[in-house]
Amino acid sequence: MAHSYTPGLTVTPWSVITKKRILPIPGAVHVQDGESVSSEKVVASAELPGKVHVINVVNQMGIQPEDLKEYMTKGEGDRVEQGEVLAETKPLIKWFKSSVTSPVTGFIETISNSTGQVLLREPPRRLDLFSYIDGRVVEVIPGQGVRIETTCAFIQGIFGIGGETWGTLILASESPEEPLNARQLTPEHAGKIVIGGSFVGADALQRAKAVGVKGLVIGGMHDKDLRALLGYDLGVAITGTENIGFTLVLTEGFGHIPMARKTFDLLRGLSGRKACLSGATQIRAGVIRPEIIVPLTPEESSRREDRSVLVKEGAKIGDPVRVIREPYFGRIGEVVALPSELAMIPTESRVRVMEVQFADGSKVVVPRANVEIIEES
């Protein structure tokens, strides 16, 4: 038995990726098949239905629902301005006249003679869908969106918060083992995507926000600092819509964990380049991991075009791996044995295991489920 099937996160200096950019509701696509686009390009847009306001006209006027239409000055589908009269009584003596006015500018959606309510809808809002990555449109899905392809350096994190952003990569820690402290963040980092080392604490997170960084990529953090940053305890790993002022990507997990050397070196080599970053994480069916995408120049892209597609076939002897569970959490080593038979671990469970050798020469047995392959590029 020479392989085990252990999922890993992709960290590669060259990859071709495709992003499906789809509107939440049908709309219009603004780009052509084959067109080159950059992150800020609006590739599609839709008209989001305006906010609805409910006015109980019959209650305000003291009339019966079935009589409502007689009092309305406007009909369904009519446009109304804020403060314009919607309905009024027509008494003989003008003094007794009462009316209901529109609180917003918009359209009359429905007039209900069952409930006596009038529903007003504000004008639609335009929703722009950005390209997010620099690349080429490879498919137009009419009325829905596009697929964009790019050749890039591609790094997946393990967990993130915050949505899509883009900016220049800048290194703030000297090594993957060095924690990022508040003093290392300066006005120079404003609007940039900052690369740190092993750990970010509460003070550095506050500083990142104050300085105005666009993104932060780091090895680990404490759960309590995440809670403080969000203002609540994150219960389920579905993220990407948080509004914390920047996008945060953890490459390793929770706690003090040095960023994998390979990830750090790759990011260091890309310092000064434009990167597209997303913190969106979803760890259920259809797993989504946070990502850092650095589009390559045409020259860089062509350099590796003959490269065969990376096949995730599982761990082999000699593969570099990261242990992802206690008691060796975060340690990096090399697979030295892949016994095929089940082995009993200290919990008394019988599981498939592998033997891993760490840099100090020590060897340990760990369940295969507790190991992540560090994928070679």
Binding site: T110, F159, A237, G253, I345, P346, S349, V365, V366, E372
Partner: protein, 624 residues
């Protein structure tokens, strides 16, 4: 390939293949008639292939069945077709008579429900959707405290698979239910999957309002009208709406998911949402055996609880209580202190919090050390406890019902809508899900459930061996006998019986005297408060117990009253739980750890020392 639909045992079935297409894994089982009995013989599994790059659920189904083929030597597949019937081509080891399936892939069935009064039609609609196997994303009601525009925004942002609208008793006022329909129409709700079809909406409210509802929602949704699920205040009628949910689940939701059209064609019975099938088999068992039952399925993301008390079926799903994806939420909901009370050692809060989050982001990892296992089992106790708490609040009698009261009722101050879950009436707890089904020692599963549920009096406990309840649920719609036989022989592992007297006293005080006629001889003794004992009573063994509780203690027959009855054994045995009810743990850390250790030792819950040669966690070159 297609198999003719069969609604009953109109054709002899000797070989059945069943799959459950879960979010991550598709599990297949083979059921064969051996002699006069149906038995589950082989199983196979493969990753579910709903997502890219495959985007075809049948690929995973074929892979899982191919594994069964390999193990059993039976030829079931002919390329991408299932061969039917069994014995095709004159070879008895070829083909199957029936293929059936359940599905929870792609997040299962997600619904929004709406009613007029939250605690009445809102709750009835919720019970209906849950019973049909759905996850209820939100319950909207006229009196839910939200302003109209907030309701509309919420409906718009949810994107459910389906909406169930109820409200008003037949012949009652229509204003409020029409108002809810207007909000739904204004929100222009869109379905979760696909852009090109209208969202299915079931109207099961006041029949007088059907005309107005059709006018308002007919063009904006795929409207289906069915019988009112609360025709009168005193009566719920959930079955017609529940059936409609299943129909629409197949017609609209499943048909949008990749590969499901083909799967629907293959299946010899309608594909059911996984939790609906589990509920069905539990209901069948309770009915057949005439017992009250609580079933729990604790998964990575959600915990489902089913109960059947005096024939009333209820299901709830705690969408964010689970052991991997949602593990952090268990901590958030229960609080650290409640988890730590089950852990027999000290651990720093920050360390524990980071460990839990790391499990959340890497959900497939397994505990390697005993401490990690104990922490996970502590979290499981809290997830189970919280999920049962949720269940109790929804598994109630109907609220808002006028009741005739006698003098005694006045003194008891009982209102309508009391929970139906009476732990003293409970006969059987069925546990399912990785943490319970795969605990290294079965006694760990038993104690997790006992600690979380605090059963009262005499209660049997069991676990599902390999999670085949969904398969058996859908099988029961075709052949109930086959489903029951496999359930009893191959699915359930009886752990044993727990005897838990109700009452509290100082540790060491007499709780009850017992005489137990075990197969090995009569055993007499006194159970003291604060103590827990495990007596040997094996699988298929029964014993007559004579229990004489202390004056203020009730073991099911009343305070101080003697109870005599038969109890059944299991792979764990007979558990005498003298820890008192309600179960209270000492607040002082050292006292609590000492007591937990004492209980764990009494049950031989965990290994006293770690097995030597194969210990992971030590260097193989020797301890450094």
């Amino acid at each position: 390939m297609s198999i003719d639909s069969q609604s009953s045992t109109d054709r002899p079935l000797s070989t059945i293949v069943a799959t459950d297409c879960g979010s991550t894994t598709t599990k297949a089982i083979l059921i064969e008639k051996i002699g006069n009995e149906y038995r589950q013989t082989y199983r196979g599994e493969a990753p579910t292939t709903v997502e890219a790059p495959f985007e075809d659920v049948t690929r995973g189904v074929l892979n899982a069945i191919a594994e069964i083929e390999e193990l059993s030597g039976r030829k079931i597949l002919d390329g991408e077709h299932i061969i039917t019937p069994s014995g095709s081509g004159g070879n008895p080891k070829t083909g199957v008579d029936l293929y059936i399936s359940t599905s929870s892939a792609g997040g299962g069935l997600q619904m929004m429900v709406a009613g007029v009064v939250q605690s009445m039609t809102g709750e009835s609609a919720q019970r209906c959707a849950l019973g049909a196997g759905a996850i209820v994303m939100d319950v909207l009601a006229s009196n839910d405290g939200r302003l109209p525009h907030e309701k509309i925004e919420r409906i718009r942002s949810l994107r459910p698979d389906m909406i169930l609208l109820s409200g008003g008793t037949d012949g009652g006022t229509i204003t409020h239910v029409v108002e809810m329909a207007e909000y739904i129409a204004a929100a222009e709700p869109r379905p979760r999957l696909g852009m090109s079809y209208n969202l299915p909406l079931i109207y099961a409210g006041n029949k007088e309002a059907r005309g107005r509802i059709s006018e308002i929602l007919g063009k904006k949704t795929a409207l289906t009208v069915t019988e009112n699920l609360r025709p009168t205040m005193e009566r719920e009628n959930l079955v017609p709406a529940r059936n409609k949910i299943h129909d629409l689940f197949l017609e609209h939701v499943m048909a949008q998911a990749p590969g499901y059209r083909k799967l629907i064609e293959w299946a010899g019975a309608p594909i059911m949402p996984t939790p609906a099938a589990v509920g069905l088999i539990m209901e069948t068992i309770a009915k057949k055996q005439g017992i009250n039952l609580i079933g729990v399925d604790i998964g990575g993301a959600t915990t489902d609880v089913f109960s059947i008390f005096h024939g009333a079926f209820n299901r709830t799903v705690s969408a964010n209580l689970g052991m991997s994806y949602s593990i952090s939420n268990v901590l958030a909901e229960s609080g650290l202190e409640n988890i730590m009370r089950w852990v027999p050692f000290s651990i720093e809060e920050q360390d524990l919090r980071n460990r839990i989050k790391n499990k959340m982001i890497r959900p497939t990892t397994v505990p390697q050390t005993l401490e990690e296992l104990q922490v996970e089992q502590a979290i499981a106790r809290e997830a189970l406890r919280l999920a049962l708490g949720h269940h109790k609040t929804l598994a109630t009698g109907l609220k808002g019902v006028q009741q005739e009261r006698s003098i005694s009722d006045v003194f008891e101050q009982k209102g309508s809508g009391q929970t139906l879950i009476n732990m003293l009436d409970l006969d059987l707890i069925v546990g399912s899900g990785g943490i319970l089904s795969h605990a290294p020692r079965r006694v760990q599963s038993m104690l997790m459930m006992v600690d979380a549920y605090e059963p009262l009096g005499v209660t049997e406990l069991s676990v599902d061996s390999i999670f085949m309840m969904p398969h058996l649920g859908v099988l029961s719609t075709v052949n109930e006998q086959a489903a029951m036989e496999v359930f009893v022989h191959d699915c359930m592992i009886y752990l044993g019986t727990c005897i838990a007297p109700i009452g509290l006293d100082k540790a060491g005080e007499r709780c009850l005297d017992y005489t137990i006629a075990l197969p090995t001889g009569e055993l007499k003794g006194t159970l003291k408060f604060g103590e827990i004992r495990l007596l040997p009573l094996g699988v298929s063994e029964e014993a007559m117990v004579h229990l004489k509780p202390a004056r203020n203690v009730d073991v099911g027959a009343g305070r101080g009253e003697t109870l005599e009855r038969r109890v059944r054994g299991g792979v764990v045995g007979l558990l005498l739980d003298g820890r008192g009810r309600p179960l209270r743990l000492p607040s002082r850390h050292e006292d609590r750890v000492s007591l937990l250790t004492q209980w764990h030792q009494a049950l031989n819950l965990y290994p006293a020392s770690v097995p030597p040669a194969i210990v992971a966690g030590e260097t193989t070159q020797g301890k450094r």
